[in-house]
Amino acid sequence: MKPPPFEYCAPRSLKDAVELLAADPSAMVLAGGQSLIPALNMRFAAPSRLIDIQHVEGLKGVVIEGGNIIVRAMTRHRELELNDEVFRANPLIRETMAHVAHVPIRNRGTVVGSLCHADAAAEMPSILLVTDGSVVTESPRGRREIPAADFFQFHMTTSREPDEIVVEAHFPVLPQGAGWAFEEFTRRHGDYAIAAVAAIVTRAGATDVVSLSACGVASRPIRLTVCEQIFAAQGFTDASFKAAGEAAKEYVTAPDDIHATNDYRRDLLASLVVRAVEKALTRSR
């Protein structure tokens, strides 16, 4: 459990970081290191160069601007979790963050790092997805914004190009009066989700809009569009909850694994959808 040799770079400017990455196709970016360092130690990852971005100017902190919570690349989970302005702007984030690993890991691990790692069972990608957020990348070709729906491709695979550094994540502020919930089941506290559902219920005129995402059940975080449509069409009735639960099961593509059978995950996801929407509904105004 010691990494193979690699070149370590600690650039001070984003320009340098971008150049270092572009110059070496097998380089990797190191932020909080909570996934990459274990992967290096297990020799699952063997980059020729590690670009440590912790000293890069302008990558720290959180700002709320233009309806978005802008989370810069070196922002630790814990900073976002404890930020009261963030909590007021989007309480779903703090509620979810309690499920992201453990405090010592959240103290070092970064939100953007978790998004880039894109574990299919990780919580924060699912939040970016349910809020219709996005990430912003920087490369020799300039800046681009990638919507969450396009960013997460597969388990541990995103649409980030090899020469791109994700410098920001944008989590939209929740609309006034929106209700929210994050319901997760794990074997142990802090583990990756066996299944989890994020729900937002937004008042839009006379109707309610339900946004739902799930993680842990497919090869990437997914929007439960059919469930959303059922609530949009039928409102909140016993029948619509039942129908949405049934519809949710069809999204489960994860095969049997050592923590859960596919059959169990299907029923679990159905229950979590019902619980999450019920809770979000009671919180909406």
Partner: protein, 799 residues
């Protein structure tokens, strides 16, 4: 000290040092210029080795040596079979480095020694081993079928051992039974997962011919004996030190792991210190594990629930080798009747080779499996006879007046017949009944069900044979300068708090503060007679040895003080670090007595003047040290138990199961526990709670997962689920103290107790909770959410 220390809730002496990070573990031992080891391990569960090429690894910069079976001299041998037993036919053990064949994923094939571990791992990747994989069968029940792939061609049907034990006359009893309950239960494989993985460092002093080995082991004296034997050097030229050890739980009592021989060998060969610090993945794939057993148990009973005979047949997975013999299976088979009278027993096991890392005792050592079998069967018997689960147990528990209760024909792990020595089994069950109030609970349970919530109550009663021989010793010496008391014993501590409980024993006899008693253990230069720390034996065996030594030193101290104070020894008392004339303010300190009892040539301090040849105190006839007299205040004595002493307890829990998401929440957990006289109730509770946490792991979380090819697919803490503190509920502990008549202190062991009954408690409670939803039984642990889900999907009751 006028207050009795034995039985007091004293904080552990060792904790401040460990808690602020000043412990010294093997990896903390400073060894200048040490070389570091990495192993090449088999990626196949079973394969022939066609060739090994080490050329590139040897040429890698920073590599000092690469070893295979061809260049390790006398170490190219089958490792010792530690505990012989006639039921094993040519028992197989591992070679330090594989020769010709590999038998499990993780088996050591080559060893690289380099300037640091990074380089060693880089070079290990350059060792080219050409394997010819062979078919494997991982499933225990399939492994014994005709035609199953064999781990060892020498052992048909993969049977490593087969033993039948009989107590009473089961055949006749069965013929007279009115009811029979049969169930099949399975406990899956787990691992100890000590916080500190295993570690070995060694240095060889060529001038003195002395080998020093630091080993994160539970048995340094045994390691020393083995090293001396295999290297053919005098035991006194080998020093083995187990410094602070970060947990062992049985995994570190097995010897030898390959590294324990190869690291000292490399240190001798290369003339430099060599270190091997096992990493977590290696601990998962290369260090021993335990638990998989499949029991088919039958209870033959009268209609009133009285069990008159028990028949149990079980398969025991021993892994690819059987270095520790049948210990685990034997403990399981002899614990099978638990606390119940059951006078007629037939128990048979087959130990089965599987192409997996070896199975040796892990905290509990077969008892959790036996407990799961008998206790789940008692629940089933109650269900079938329409009896209450508490009541069916009450009707079978051994009564207080029936002790000692002998199970003739069942030989325990010490080779002696099972004899339950003392206890208050009925009182323990009564206490649990009072705590959990099952009748009131039934009302709550009914009300909760009405509200769509599913509560369940479970219980399990266990016994634990503890304090195995053969013996341990203790050396006690009062130091003449400080008056502090040094206690040396042959054990090691992995965090149990020996330093505190042994100090309490000594403090009472010598009248000193607990903090003035210094325990020295884990070093063969400090004390080199004894066995090891395992089998819940330290307090029983070393505790009594130290107690006996303390009595001798007390007697010597009183005699010397009586001489110095010119009174009769009967008029003296030992307290506050001195001998006092009762009812007066005349005293002499232990330091002064220790000095005075050592006739001196040189007066190096004030009190030493009194012990020199011209001092008035030394004026007497004859030589300064009379014939038969020894200098100083010290003694060594030993304790060898006549047989195991049996602790016991009963646990109960109330759980809530959420049938939608298949989650279990433990709402209450109650433990009634009796380990005889308690030396330190706080330490007892720590042991019990830790054991229960480990038991909860086995009941709900921990399962070593091999795929069909024999790859361990959860060799990490993300996927092998050791419960966190967040998964462990508050635990209520009530003590009973029934002394054992077998040893002077009246103590029984406690190290393993907590983990034994937990699986049966949880299974019993979950079953009770889900009774309105399913008639399925929970006969397989760990109970996973998927298992609950599957049970709920099967046959929901019609009603």
């Amino acid at each position: 000290m006028s207050t009795k220390m034995f039985g007091a809730r004293i904080k552990r002496n060792i904790d401040p040092q460990l808690l602020i990070g000043e412990g010294s573990f093997v990896d903390d031992i400073p060894l200048a210029g040490a070389l570091h080891v990495a192993f090449v391990r088999s990626p196949f569960a079973r394969a022939k080795i066609k060739s090994i090429s080490t050329e590139f690894a040897e040429q890698h910069p920073g590599v000092a040596a690469v070893y295979t079976c061809d260049n390790i001299g006398a170490l190219d041998l089958e490792l010792p079979q530690l505990i012989p037993h006639p039921c094993m036919d040519s028992p197989r053990t591992q070679r330090p480095l594989a020769r010709g064949d590999v038998y499990y994923v993780g088996q050591t094939v080559a060893m690289v020694v380099a300037v640091d571990r990074y380089t060693a791992e880089d070079a290990a990747a350059l060792v080219d081993v050409d394997y010819d994989p062979l078919p494997v069968e991982i499933d225990l029940e399939k492994a014994i079928l005709d035609g199953a792939p064999l781990v060892h061609p020498t052992h048909p049907n993969n049977i490593a051992a087969d033993l039948v034990q009989i107590s009473g006359d089961p055949d006749s009893a069965i013929a007279g039974a009115e009811h029979v309950t049969k169930i099949r239960v399975q406990v899956d494989r787990s691992t100890a997962a000590p916080m500190e993985c295993r570690a070995v460092a060694a240095t060889f002093d060529k001038v003195m011919g002395e080998l020093t080995v630091w080993d994160s082991t539970q048995g340094p004296i045994a390691i020393r004996g083995g090293l001396a034997s295999i290297f053919n050097i005098d035991e006194d030229k080998v020093r083995v030190i187990a410094p602070h050890v970060g947990g062992g739980f049985g995994q570190k009592v097995l010897l030898f792991y390959p590294d324990e021989l190869l690291v000292p060998f490399a240190a001798m060969q290369l003339g430099r210190p060599v270190k091997f610090i096992e990493d977590r993945r290696e601990n998962f794939i290369g260090s021993s594990q335990e638990r998989t057993q499949i029991h088919e148990i039958e209870l033959y009973a009268k209609k009133n629930g009285e069990v008159i005979a028990l028949v149990d047949r079980f398969l025991h997975d021993t892994g690819a080798f059987i270095p520790y013999g049948i210990a685990v299976a034997q403990v399981a088979s002899t614990s099978i009747a638990g606390p119940y009278r059951i006078p007629n027993i037939r128990v048979e096991f087959k130990a089965v080779y599987t192409p997996t890392v070896v199975v040796t005792p892990y905290r509990g050592c077969g008892r959790p499996q036996a407990n799961f079998a008998i206790e789940r069967a008692m629940d089933k018997l109650a269900e079938e006879l329409g009896l209450d689960r508490f009541e069916v147990r009450r009707r079978n528990l051994i009564a207080d007046h029936e002790f000692p209760y002998l199970r003739k024909g069942l030989l325990f792990a010490d080779g002696l017949p099972v004899s339950l020595d003392s206890g208050q089994y009925h009182k323990a069950l009564q206490l649990l009944t009072e705590k959990l109030a099952p009748e009131e609970f039934a009302v709550q349970q009914k009300a909760a069900r009405g509200a769509g919530r599913y509560l369940g109550l479970g219980l399990s009663f266990y016994v634990e044979g503890t304090g195995l021989g053969p013996y341990e010793g203790g050396h006690i010496k009062i130091h003449p300068i400080t008056g502090k008391v040094y206690v040396n014993t042959g054990l090691t501590s992995q965090g149990q708090g020996h330093d505190t409980v042994f100090a309490q024993i000594v403090a009472d006899q010598l009248g000193v503060a607990v903090t003035d008693v210094i325990l020295v253990e884990g070093d063969t230069k400090a004390f080199d007679w004894g066995v090891a720390t395992f089998a819940s034996r330290a307090a029983v065996v070393s505790g009594n040895a130290i107690h006996k030594s303390a009595l001798i030193v007390r007697k010597k101290t009183l005699a010397a003080a009586a001489n110095m104070l010119e009174v009769s020894a009967d008029d003296l008392e030992l307290r506050d670090g001195a001998a006092w004339v009762k009812g007066s303010n005349r005293s002499v300190s232990l330091a002064a007595i220790a000095t005075a009892t050592n006739p001196l040539r040189y007066a190096f301090n004030e009190s030493a003047k009194a012990a020199t040849q011209f001092a008035p105190a030394s004026k007497h006839d004859g030589p300064p040290l009379a014939e038969g007299q020894h200098p100083g205040l010290e003694a060594t004595d030993y304790y060898s138990p006549p047989s195991a002493t049996w602790a016991y307890g009963v646990h109960g829990a109330i759980v809530e199961v959420d049938p939608e998401i298949c989650a279990i929440k433990i709402k209450r957990y109650v433990c009634i526990h009796d380990c005889g006289n308690m030396i330190n109730p706080t330490i007892v509770e720590g042991q019990v709670m830790g054991g229960i946490a480990q038991g909860i792991g086995g009941a709900m979380y921990e399962r070593i997962e091999y795929d069909t090819e024999g790859n361990l697919i959860n060799a990490n803490f993300v996927d092998f689920l050791v419960p966190y503190a967040t998964e462990i509920p508050p635990i209520e502990i009530l003590h009973l103290e029934t002394p054992t008549p077998l040893n002077p202190l009246g103590v029984k062991g406690v190290g393993e107790a907590g983990c034994i009954p937990v699986a049966a408690v949880i299974a019993s409670a979950v079953e009770d909770a889900l009774r309105p939803l399913t008639h399925e039984h929970f006969y397989h642990v760990p109970i996973t959410p998927s298992a609950i889900h599957a049970a709920l999907k099967k046959a929901a009751p019609a009603n």
